[in-house]
């Protein structure tokens, strides 16, 4: 299964993950 998030955020929003990285619930994705 897959989850797609689409959202509006300021230009300077940054992702703190990389493609292929394993993540857990609650882990920081971006700020």
């Amino acid at each position: 299964s897959t989850i797609v998030l689409v959202f509006e955020a300021p230009h300077n929003f940054d992702f703190f993950v990389s493609a292929g990285q394993k993540v857990k619930v609650g882990q920081r994705l971006g700020d």
Binding site: L5, V6, G20
Partner: protein, 424 residues
């Protein structure tokens, strides 16, 4: 160099025309394969089709939805108690499940594989990070980035349309202006009028529960009234209807409005939003405010992963659009080969807003997990009925305004469990 240039003899050779023609064919083929072939219907909207190599078409010919339902049925069969620990340990070792963090830890308590698949985790097993956006699920990040020209990059070189994914800008749905969020402080809200979305204005005593008709003639979301949960059918969740008909699928909190309002106002401050009311027909088109971008991230949940999903941010879910679709596998292998995978598959688009503007979360089903559960949505049933009744791109819509009339949707805090994927 000068001497070589001047003294080297020039010889001419005939190139076979066939070689030239072959070269042209190769160039043309490469151009075609990299160009996006867009088929549009008479309204000019892209028609999403099954596109990809031949084996994708073979898979597409399989009765995936029926296979998924059979798989779901088999996994709902109760297992003998003595076999459960053995079976689930084998499953856990094959798919890499961590049995230390599940709740309950006693494997005999899971009557079927379906129950084990939808297992809970111990409290505290997933701490929530201090960031505006956290992961909604255990899984692997497939792709992320900024949305350009309304298209999301599925994998390198393959994109799908944001409109198709979220059911935006569909024919017959009125256009809507963007959602405005001036960043007022909450205490300011408490003691004076506030202008809100699309010119609907609320006075304080309306906020506190004594609505009076406002100048624009609408004191409560009128488009909402015929579909509110007050009609029994909607409340019992039997009212998921066709495109264009809306149902209030949320579970209302208690009916004493002022208390609800008090809760909503405190919840509003918690999710960082201003109490407001949007016109029902919002979300047919999303315009990003100046200074903002629209971002996306795709997370793939592997079979062994914890399959409940949580709120990735503090936001308010206003509505959901259930797209009946196929149930292709959504593994990275398939994502690389099947274009438009995420707009072909069965999915539930949860649309709402957070403090920066538009926010949406789209759980996408797959062959083994065709059932998507949303905890606050009794009306939702996925993977039922035949796909033929629901052409690609159509959806049934429900709104959640009853959950929080003031926030006009279901407020969620970051890390709160929202639902999950079930087998079949």
């Amino acid at each position: 160099l000068v001497e070589a240039w001047q003294n080297t003899p020039t010889k001419w050779y005939p190139i076979p025309i066939a070689a030239g023609a072959l070269l042209l064919v190769v160039l043309q083929y490469r151009k075609k394969s990299t160009a996006r072939e867009v088929v549009v219907d008479d309204d000019g909207n892209e028609v999403i089709r099954l596109k990809g190599p031949w084996h994708v078409h073979v898979i597409g010919a399989l009765p995936l939805r029926n296979m998924s339902r059979v798989w779901g049925y088999l996994n709902s069969l109760e297992l003998p108690v003595w076999f459960r620990p053995i079976g689930f340990r084998i499953y856990a070792s094959v798919f890499g499940c961590n049995l230390e963090e599940i709740d309950p830890q006693d494997l005999t308590q899971y009557a079927s594989l379906g129950e084990f698949f939808y297992r809970k985790l111990k409290d505290g097993a997933r701490p929530v990070a201090d960031a505006v956006l956290v992961s909604p699920a255990d899984g692997r990040v497939l792709h992320f980035g900024v949305i350009k020209d309304g298209r999301i990059e599925q994998v390198k070189g393959s994109t799908y349309s944001l409109d198709a994914l979220l059911g935006l800008a569909r024919p017959g749905t009125p256009a809507v202006t963007a959602v405005e969020f001036p960043d007022q402080k909450m205490d300011e809200v408490n003691h004076r009028h506030f202008a809100d979305i699309n010119g609907i204005e609320y006075s304080l005593h309306e906020l506190l529960g004594t609505p009076t008709p406002s100048s624009s003639g609408t004191s409560t979301p009128t488009a909402e009234a015929p579909h509110t949960h007050t009609d029994g059918a909607a409340q019992t969740g039997t009212a998921a209807k066709k495109h264009g008909e809306r149902v209030d699928a949320s579970v209302p909190r208690d009916q004493t409005l002022p208390e609800t309002v008090a809760q909503d106002v405190s919840m509003a401050s918690e999710v960082g939003l201003r109490p407001t009311a949007a016109r029902r027909d919002s979300f047919t088109s999303v315009r990003t405010k100046p200074g903002n971008d629209t971002f996306f991230i795709v997370i793939y949940l592997a079979p062994g992963d914890y399959h409940r999903f949580h709120s990735p941010a503090a936001w308010v879910v206003e509505r959901r659009r259930h797209f009946v679709g196929d149930l292709f596998s959504v593994s990275p292998w398939m994502a690389k080969r099947l274009e438009n995978l995420f707009v072909l598959n069965e999915r539930v688009a949860l649309l709402g807003r957070w403090k920066y503007g538009f926010f949406s979360m789209v759980p996408v089903g797959a062959t083994n997990v065709g059932s998507i559960k949303i905890n606050f949505d009794q009306a939702l049933r996925t993977n039922v009925g035949s796909r033929r009744e629901h052409p690609v791109g159509t959806f049934t819509e429900a709104v959640y305004s009853a959950a929080s009339p003031i926030l006009n949707g279901q407020p969620l805090v970051k890390g709160e469990e929202m639902g999950g994927f079930c087998l079949g």
